[in-house]
């Protein structure tokens, strides 16, 4: 048994400051967008709240701001770990597919830093940003575009927003059920023991980088 395994306090950095800052700015913007968007979209809620012009402005401004944290996080040398993690999200091994096929029942044996569900969540949310932005811009500044585009953009924006809302809700529920994960997005750290037992592949990376 090594020293580390006996050291109950040993911790590993999961998310650095850039990543935490990016996550929480995105979270705030997403929640504002979901709240104002739902109020604009769902009749009874719109009737209850009113103030449509104000809500629309808040929604549009938050939407335009949405890519800013991502661009800022990528704008300097502080992006190093974020890039590493983006690469982890983007690149899949056979284990990830197995994990996904079995809905998490198998594929843990060589688990990397993120499981396939987390990878999928990150990719989907990242992909939503340009699509929602593009369709939102067409909805808001529709005059230069053909009329059918406005209808089409509304259709895409609405359908994707519903899906995204469900995904974000699932993400929040999973995070609440997993205090270790929640804490790591707040403080950045996870117990080394957790990494060793649950994420052996990531553990190897941590170890080989720290020789």
């Amino acid at each position: 048994m090594t020293t580390l395994e006996r050291d109950v306090d040993a911790r590993v950095l999961r998310f650095d400051r850039t990543e935490r800052w990016l996550h929480w700015s995105n979270a705030v913007l997403f929640l504002i967008l979901l709240a104002t968007g739902m109020t604009l979209y769902i009749g009874p809620l719109a009737a209850l709240v009113g103030r449509r012009v104000l809500l629309k402005d808040v929604h549009v401004i938050s939407g335009l701001l949405l890519p800013v944290p991502l661009l800022a996080a990528y704008a300097g040398s502080w992006r190093a770990r974020l890039r590493q993690d983006v690469r982890r999200f983007a690149r899949w091994s056979v284990d990830d597919w197995r994990w996904l096929r079995t809905l998490g029942r198998h594929g843990h044996e060589r688990m990397g830093k993120f499981n396939a569900g987390q990878k999928l969540n990150a990719i989907f949310v990242a992909g939503c940003i340009p699509v929602m932005l593009m369709t939102g811009v067409i909805m808001r500044w529709f005059s230069p575009f053909p009329l059918a585009w406005r209808t089409g953009a509304t259709f895409v924006h609405d359908s994707l927003a519903l899906t995204l809302g469900a995904v974000v809700l699932g993400h929040i529920l999973k995070a609440l059920a997993e205090p270790v994960a929640m804490r790591s997005m707040r403080t950045g750290m996870v117990p080394a023991e957790h990494v060793r037992l649950r994420h052996p592949r990531w553990w190897r990376e941590v170890v080989s980088a720290d020789d």
Partner: protein
């Protein structure tokens, strides 16, 4: 070995495990490579689908609307408000909260350039004056359209007849009891057969969010002409209020709001 560039230091960061300790690594040396570029493909796929959706979504939408119409029309749960169909009402109000008048306290003032100014209550509108029912689409200038909405009310033409609108009148101005929303029609438009002071829609009294107890329904024009929470009908000889020709018109929408030939839109006539 791992594929791709090795993780850079310092991967463990500040308070990681103690230096100089070499922890145990998994014995499994043959890790499958993590190299399927799923992320890029998924991202490009989403962008592609999104673009296709913008280009062809209008067609998908109308198909979906047709398919979902039996559900949305008979929905009593309100859950269909979540469906991405365009054939449902979206509730717009220009003020902070929805204005409210009970059936009992409701009065409609009809005045201005008329011989017999009148204050009408709901009984006048629902029983005393001649009734007209029609079933027509409601088309919003933002694109959604609710097909085959049943409307009941008094023809605006009959109302103008009732109060004796004078021959030199040029326009009718409508005031909402939300205190902000106003609209106008020319006398000729106001006398059309398909312009109603409506007290029923969708087979029931006009609800508060739809502009009840009484609203305007200007069938051949975009929805913003069908003023909600109708408070006052004023016959005028000129448009001289700061709010003229109307709330939405002052925000840039066309004054003659014919469905299909205004606001740069080419919707099918209602």
């Amino acid at each position: 070995m791992l594929q791709g560039p090795p993780p850079r230091r310092p991967i463990s960061g500040g308070a990681a495990y103690p230096r100089g300790v070499l922890p145990q690594t998994p014995q499994d040396a043959e890790l499958p490579p993590e190299d399927a570029p799923v992320g890029r493909r998924a991202l490009l796929g989403m962008l592609g689908l999104g673009t296709l959706g913008v280009l062809w979504g209008a067609k998908v939408q109308s198909g979906l609307d047709r398919a979902l119409r039996p559900i949305t029309l008979n929905d009593r749960t309100g859950l269909s408000a979540f469906l991405p169909t365009s054939s449902r009402f979206r509730i717009y109000s220009v003020t902070g909260s929805l204005p409210h008048r009970t059936d009992l306290e409701y009065r409609l003032t009809v005045d201005g350039h008329v011989d017999r100014p009148a204050t009408l209550d709901l009984t006048d509108l629902r029983q005393r004056l001649p009734q007209r029912a029609l079933t027509k689409d409601f088309q919003c200038v933002t694109g959604w359209r609710v097909p085959d909405v049943p409307w009941e009310g008094v023809r605006l033409a009959d109302l103008l007849e009732e109060v004796g609108a004078r021959p030199d009148a040029s326009h009718v101005r409508f005031w909402s009891f939300d205190g902000v929303y106003t609209e106008t029609l020319t006398m000729e438009q106001a006398r059309r057969d398909d312009v109603l002071v409506a007290h029923h829609m969708l087979g029931a009294p006009v609800t508060r969010e739809h502009g009840g107890p009484v609203r305007l329904y200007v069938a051949p024009m975009y929805g913003y002409k069908s003023l909600k929470w109708l408070d006052r009908v004023e016959v005028v000889t000129e448009l001289d209020e700061p709010s003229d020709p109307g709330y939405w018109e002052n925000l840039g929408y066309d004054t003659d709001a014919w469905v299909g030939s205004s606001n740069g839109r080419r919707d099918e006539a209602t």
